[in-house]
Structure formats: structure tokens, C-alpha cells
């Protein structure tokens, strides 16, 4: 079977990297500037700007009079993110991927045809996936990596060059395609070709081999082989780096959460598309906001998995939030809502100038609930519900509880609610056994405990008086106790108490309370009621 290679090329890569974050600018004239003010020069332009007469190398002053021209500063982090997205796109098809610069990726298509179909279908799928990642690309398929790269640079859209037709198809391309980098050497070669009257690759391919070698040396021979599509070399695959991070550098500081959510939504969509391209999900999202002004340090750790740090002025100006999820998820809308709720509870407190969002990749959930398992909430919905509930009652008041290994009253702590997967159901007779014999008398805890005044008689409580609640006062009909307990005497938070169970005549019936005397403080409290 013949070997084929595909090349993905992103024309005007710096422009495309910016358009990923602002796709609405795609229909406008956009110029990317580089350099320090006031000596900024145009680094890259899109097609609309090119039609308006703007070329790379022009100064900012020259293009400012152009009506409707949008100017943006070059963003290296966004270009790095776009390159990573391009790699994700290619590596979602083949593990053998070569990076030829930021804007060009070549991948080996060996063995892909049984999986993805014919070559044109693979090329279209590559183009579509790149488009899903926010990049408009040219895709070309050919028998050699160099031919595929030349075709991707020269032809827009999707191109498939059959074996043996390389020279014929590449012949119509201009010579400039061969010498992409604007170095001094390539400039001299272009000038030479121009003097010889060579405009197209077919002209270069038609030159006599020996004469070309005498005049241009091995470089000329190599260029002629490239023009004929006759080169052959081994692909140099890159190691896949699983870093999923998206960045937006803002032109103006953001003050409100609503426009921030809009940008976060776009970043999350790109992240989720990249993760989906690699069949991964995420369990941890890290949001880092660069603020215009510094702020005070604040510990923002919470029990729902979100943590945050706000730095001091002078140290750095970063506001970080980390969102940890109990299960791997891949839903940008869920992530956005969770981040919105989190930022609403913990606002950054200063204008935002840069947004960095990273996802920790993990394998997606592969669990499928059984038909006969009890119902359980969907993890995505449950996370959102918990976040919303935390917004209503407070983050420390929702979750599951864990008993602590102590005799101290109230020895428990709240923790993140993450119900375990239901196991295979046992027989119903086992799960639904009657437990009437094991019914436990429950205690309702008074939080905070109720302070009472107690009258003692013969060493036993005889009357309680509660100024705040008249239902909890009266003659004690029956009393049992005391049960003395103490603990943590070796620490500062030592406790010692006497517990009594008492019965007091209420309005409708008799109420049973747990009465406690703090032996260290000397006060009487009603800790709870038996119910």
C-alpha cells in the first residue's frame, strides 16, 4: 500500500490565533501589530486587510487611516495555544505527527483509511476538526511530506494529490511557495528565479538538472526536486504534550462578570473541543486572572473543591481559582456555570487584563449504570445543583458529613458531597429488611445550644428556666443522670461535662431534653431534644 501524508497549514497564523478568541472579527479587516509603540509594524494581516492594501511591514501610522481596520497586538500565548490546538487536531487522527513551524503540521496517514475512509474524506475530516477548534486551515494529502506541505501552502481548502500527479498539480503554484521564509538567502534565490523568468514551479521543474546544479548548487537541485514532488524523507514525530491551556489578553480591562463569562465560555468551548479531540475529559479547571491592580491576600479555600488565592500588590497580580470536580466531565456549559457561580461567590475585586484557563486532562468516565440499579443524580447536574445550593446557604453548609474519631460532642465535619456509584443491587429482601426492632430514638440538636437556669434539689435538677423560650421551662418531671464525660484535657480545648436526660411538661405533651452542665465553664445548656 502506498504511503500518504497530510499537511495542515494555517494561513496568516498570528491572525488566526487571535481570531480563535474573537471570531466576530473574521469578517472584518484585521492587522496584527508587533513591536513597541510608537514603532509598531504590521506583522500579519487577514485577507480583507490584504485586499484593502495593507501588507506586513507597514507601520501603524500608515494603516491607521484605513477605515474599518481593526488593529490587535501580537499575542504569543494565544499563538502557542493555537499551535497546541493544531497538534491536538492532528494527533486525534494519527500518533505520527510532525510540527514544521507554528502554522504547519504534517501527519502520517498510514493505516487510517480503514478507520476514517478514503483520503479525501480524511482530509475533509481534518479540515472540519480544525474548524471546530477555531482555525481555518488548508489541508493537502500527498505521497511525501514535502509535497503535502507545498500543496497545503499553495492551494486553499482541501487538496488530494494522487500518486504520480505531483509535478502536474504542483506546477501551477508560484515559486514563492517554495521559499516561504523571508530570509536573505531565499530573497536572493527569488531574485535569481525572477531574472531567469521562472514564475511557476513547472518552470523550475523543466530546468536542466546539470545546469541548475552548476548555477545554484545542491540547494537548487533540492528546490527542483521539491517542485517535482520527488523528495523523500522520514517523518520526525513530536512527542504529544498534554497541556490544555487557553489564554486571552484583553485590549481593555474587564470590570464586570458578565463579559468575563462570555470570554470564559469561548475559552471553555475551545478547551473542551481540544479535550474531545483527544478523547479526554477533565476533573480540574484552573482559572488565573491577571488583575490591573493588586489586592489583599485572602484564603479562598472552600470545602467544595474550589480554592483560590489573591495575591498582594507588589508580589504579583494574579487571582487564581481552582475548580475540582468529583468525576471527569466534558461539558463547557456546566463548567461555565460552575465558574460563574464560583466567581460570583468570590469576585476578583479588580479589573481583569488577562485570562488564562487550564484543564487537567483525565480519562473520561466509562461507567454505565445498570438497568436495575437505583437512580442517582447525573454528575453534571449534581455539581451545578451543589454550586447553586452553596450560593444560597453558604459553602460550608452543604455536603456530606464525616464523623470524627473523638468523643467530643459535635465531632463531625462537612465534606464535599460525592456519592459513590451504586453497587450491584443485593436481593430486595436483604436491602429492605425491617428494622423496627432497631429503631433509634433520635436527638435533635439545638445549634447554638440554649442557655438555661437550673434549680437543683437533692443534687438533681428540679426546675429549668429559659428566658428566651418559654416552652422549654418548667418543673422537671423526671430526670436521669448525670453521665460524666471529659476529654482533650491535654490540649487547650479541653472539655468536661455532665449530661442529664430530663422530661418537662410542654404545651401538648411531655418533651424530653438533654441537659448539659459544662463543668469547666459552669453554665447549663439544653443541648437537644429527643424526638
Amino acid at each position: 500500500m502506498n504511503q500518504y501524508f497530510a499537511c495542515i497549514f494555517v494561513p496568516d497564523f498570528p491572525v488566526e490565533a487571535l481570531l480563535r478568541a474573537e471570531p466576530k472579527l473574521r469578517s472584518q479587516s484585521l492587522a496584527v501589530l508587533e513591536g513597541k509603540a510608537p514603532l509598531q509594524k504590521v506583522f500579519a494581516v487577514n485577507e480583507n486587510a490584504r485586499r484593502a492594501g495593507v501588507d506586513p511591514g507597514m507601520s501603524k501610522l500608515q494603516i491607521e487611516p484605513c477605515a474599518g481596520m481593526v488593529l490587535r497586538a501580537r499575542s504569543l500565548p494565544q499563538e502557542a495555544a493555537a499551535h497546541a490546538a493544531l497538534l491536538d487536531c492532528a494527533q486525534s487522527f494519527s500518533p505520527r505527527v510532525e510540527a514544521r513551524g507554528c502554522d504547519t503540521i504534517v501527519l502520517d496517514l498510514a493505516g487510517l483509511q480503514p478507520l476514517f475512509g478514503a483520503l479525501p474524506k480524511i482530509a475533509r475530516a481534518l479540515s472540519r476538526r480544525a474548524s471546530d477548534l477555531g482555525l481555518e486551515t488548508n489541508v493537502a494529502v500527498a505521497g511525501t511530506p514535502d509535497t503535502a506541505a507545498l500543496a497545503a501552502r499553495g492551494f486553499s481548502g482541501v487538496t488530494v494529490i494522487p500518486e504520480g500527479k505531483e509535478a502536474e498539480q504542483l506546477g501551477s503554484l508560484p515559486v514563492e511557495v517554495l521559499l516561504g521564509n523571508s530570509t536573505q538567502e531565499s530573497g536572493q534565490l527569488l531574485e535569481t528565479f525572477s531574472r531567469w523568468g521562472i514564475r511557476k514551479l513547472r518552470d523550475l521543474a523543466a530546468l536542466p538538472h546539470l545546469a541548475l546544479s552548476e548555477r545554484l548548487g545542491q540547494a537548487g537541485i533540492h528546490l527542483q526536486k521539491l517542485a517535482c514532488g520527488a523528495t523523500s524523507r522520514t517523518l520526525v514525530p513530536v512527542e504529544p504534550v498534554l497541556i490544555f491551556e487557553e489564554v486571552i489578553e484583553l485590549e481593555y480591562p474587564l470590570l464586570l462578570l458578565e463579559p468575563l463569562a462570555f470570554l470564559l465560555g469561548r475559552l471553555l468551548e475551545q478547551l473542551c473541543a481540544r479535550l474531545a479531540a483527544r478523547a479526554l475529559a477533565t476533573q480540574e479547571l484552573r482559572l488565573c486572572l491577571e488583575l490591573e491592580n493588586g489586592w489583599q491576600t485572602e484564603d479562598l479555600s472552600t470545602n467544595n473543591g474550589a480554592t483560590g488565592v489573591l495575591a498582594r500588590p507588589g508580589q504579583s497580580r494574579l487571582f487564581q481559582r481552582t475548580l475540582r470536580l468529583p468525576v471527569p466531565l466534558l461539558d463547557s456549559r456546566t463548567f461555565l456555570k460552575l465558574l460563574q457561580l464560583d466567581l460570583k461567590a468570590h469576585p476578583p475585586g479588580a479589573p481583569i487584563v488577562k485570562i488564562r484557563l487550564a484543564a487537567e486532562p483525565v480519562r473520561p468516565r466509562a461507567a454505565q449504570n445498570g438497568l436495575f440499579l437505583p437512580p442517582s443524580p447525573e454528575p453534571e447536574k449534581l455539581e451545578l445543583t451543589l454550586a447553586r445550593i452553596a450560593g444560597i446557604v453558604g459553602e460550608d453548609k452543604v455536603g456530606s458529613l464525616e464523623l470524627l474519631d473523638t468523643h467530643r460532642p459535635g465531632g463531625f465535619r462537612m465534606q464535599r458531597f460525592a456519592p459513590s456509584e451504586p453497587f450491584s443491587p443485593r436481593r430486595h429482601r436483604d436491602t429492605e429488611r425491617d428494622d423496627s426492632d432497631d429503631l433509634v430514638t433520635a436527638l435533635r440538636i439545638f445549634r447554638p445550644p440554649v442557655d438555661v437556669a437550673v434549680t437543683m434539689q437533692d443534687g438533681k435538677p428540679a426546675y429549668i428556666n429559659c428566658p428566651k423560650n418559654k416552652e422549654m421551662q418548667g418543673e422537671i418531671l423526671w430526670v436521669a443522670g448525670p453521665w460524666r464525660s471529659s476529654g482533650d484535657w491535654w490540649e487547650q480545648e479541653a472539655w468536661a461535662r455532665d449530661e442529664w436526660d430530663i422530661a418537662v411538661q410542654g404545651e401538648a405533651s411531655i418533651a424530653l431534653y438533654r441537659l448539659v452542665r459544662d463543668r469547666l465553664g459552669g453554665r447549663w445548656i439544653l443541648e437537644g431534644m429527643y424526638d
Binding site: P374, R388, I392, L403, P425, V440, A442, R444, F446
Partner: protein
């Protein structure tokens, strides 16, 4: 569609007795031809709603009395202080978590005792505990609640929090048991819960596998409750039965448990009226 005149025959100048039957036929014909009424099923052809699936409540006597807790319905248990409501709550919670169902407890007065629940056998991994109450604010927080805000009612009260939380939980779905604990809520506040909220909750759990369980002092959900159970408090005469001998010294006495009387006040699970059927059971101190 035919255009039949809907004009009184008397107005046409004809004798009423002669044209009455014809007129009725015409009216029925005209009404049946109206598109809005075409899809209406006559009452005589309505199907009987199937009885909901029930699950054990964890108390054998209550299951015998009621048939269990109905899924997709609102069940209410009411009673005064120390009447055994919370013990029934814990039994239901324990039974549900044993069935591997995910449960939620909306605790309005933050009165849940983890140690009692552990003694009752509740699996905490499967239980979501929502403790309503005022949100703690840091001392230097600019959003700290002021007294004026409290007086103006800008701060959400626990009951309002509970209603919103319950809404979210029921909309989220997937919970086997959702409990609203109104046990210590003052009657005045419990009665202020609008009936529309209970209707909304009832509609939210309808056709789902969720059991909505409300614990209160007096019936709050009113007609929305498919099952209403009343537990009565301890009488002075019964107190001596459930305690050890009074003659022994106080430190030798023990609270053995509660003797609970349950009365079924309403059950929509059966066509016949439930009447007043009672049962009794005893809880033990864990």
C-alpha cells in the same frame, strides 16, 4: 366545517317545545365540531391512575399501616416535640441509603444529629445535608449583613432558603428521598409557606422515583400531601412505662426510648377513605 347558527329558536319565532330537541342536537353537533374540544376525553373514558410504587419506610408498623412511602408523592409526618418524628425520619433515611439511593436532607433548623443518624445506620456517603441558616460573613467583609438589612428582610430566612434548595434538588432529579425538616420551625413561619410551593414540589416529583418527605409540627402541605401521618407525643401516664423504675436513684435511671403513637390522617393511595387508623411502636436510645 358546517356553519350552524347558534341562535335561540325562540328568537326565530318557532314554538320552543317543537324545536327543543333539534336545537340541543344542533348545539352538541356544533360543540363537537369545535377544534379546541376535539381532543378532550370524556370523563367516563378516563383511565384510573395507577397506584404509585411504594418503598419501605424503615418502620414495620408504619409500612403495615400505610403500605410504605409512595414514590413520586409528597408524604408528611407531623407531631409535637418528642413525638418520634425525627426517629421515623432517620429510619426512612437509613432504609433509603441501604437501598443505595441518594438522599437529601434540607435541615431548616440545623437540628440534625450525626451521631443519632450513625446509630440508626444512615450511610453518610449517600446523604446530602443542607443546613439552612444565615450565611457566615467574615468580619472584614464588605458584604457583612447589617441590622438594617436584617430588619428589612433582605437576608433570606431559613424557610425561604429551604424552599429554594428543595426546588433545586427536585429539578436536579435522581434523588431517591428528599426530606424537608420543618420540625423546629415556628408554626407561624411554617404556615406562611405558600400552598403554591407545595403544589410545585408535588408536580416536580410526580412521575419520578423520588419520595418527598416532610417533617413538621402541624400539617403544612395540606392537600398536596398524598400521605399524612400524625405521631403523638408522650403522655405523662406512659412516661413511667418507658423509663426505668422511678424509685431508683437518678444516676441509675435510663431513658430507654420513646413510645410512639402513629395515626394515618390521609392516604390517597387507596380509593376508600383512610379514616383514623392508629399504630404504635417503640424507639430505643442508641
Amino acid at each position: 366545517m358546517s356553519s350552524l347558527p347558534l341562535v335561540s329558536p325562540a328568537a326565530l319565532g318557532r314554538p320552543v317545545a317543537v324545536v327543543a330537541s333539534t336545537w340541543r342536537t344542533l348545539v352538541f353537533k356544533r360543540l363537537s365540531a369545535m377544534p379546541k374540544l376535539a381532543g378532550v376525553t370524556p370523563a367516563s373514558r378516563l383511565d384510573v391512575r395507577p397506584a404509585p410504587q411504594t418503598v419501605p419506610s424503615g418502620v414495620r408498623e408504619i409500612d403495615t399501616l400505610t403500605g410504605g412511602l409512595p414514590r413520586g408523592c409528597l408524604t408528611e409526618i407531623c407531631g409535637p416535640a418528642s413525638s418520634g418524628r425525627t426517629s421515623v425520619l432517620l429510619a426512612a433515611l437509613s432504609a433509603a441509603t441501604r437501598r443505595q439511593e441518594v438522599c437529601a436532607l434540607v435541615d431548616i433548623s440545623d437540628a440534625f444529629s450525626p451521631h443519632s443518624a450513625a446509630a440508626a445506620g444512615v450511610n453518610f456517603e449517600k446523604m446530602l445535608w443542607v443546613r439552612c441558616g444565615e450565611i457566615k460573613q467574615k468580619a472584614d467583609s464588605p458584604q457583612r449583613h447589617t441590622d438594617t438589612e436584617k430588619k428589612n428582610g433582605k437576608i433570606e430566612k431559613p424557610v425561604e432558603q429551604a424552599l429554594r434548595v428543595t426546588d433545586l434538588l427536585l429539578q436536579s432529579g435522581g434523588f431517591g428521598l428528599v426530606i424537608i425538616d420543618l420540625g423546629d420551625t415556628p408554626l407561624k413561619m411554617a404556615r406562611r409557606i405558600p400552598l403554591t410551593s407545595w403544589f410545585r414540589f408535588q408536580r416536580a416529583v410526580e412521575h419520578t422515583a423520588t419520595v418527598l418527605f416532610v417533617v413538621s409540627q402541624v400539617p403544612s402541605a395540606r392537600t398536596c400531601a398524598s400521605l399524612l401521618l400524625k405521631v403523638s407525643g408522650t403522655k405523662l401516664s406512659a412516661l413511667s412505662c418507658q423509663l426505668s423504675a422511678e424509685t431508683s436513684p437518678a444516676h441509675a435511671q435510663l431513658l430507654n426510648g420513646l413510645q410512639v403513637q402513629g395515626e394515618l390522617l390521609r392516604s390517597r393511595l387507596e380509593r376508600k377513605p383512610s379514616g383514623s387508623v392508629t399504630t404504635a411502636f417503640i424507639t430505643k436510645v442508641g
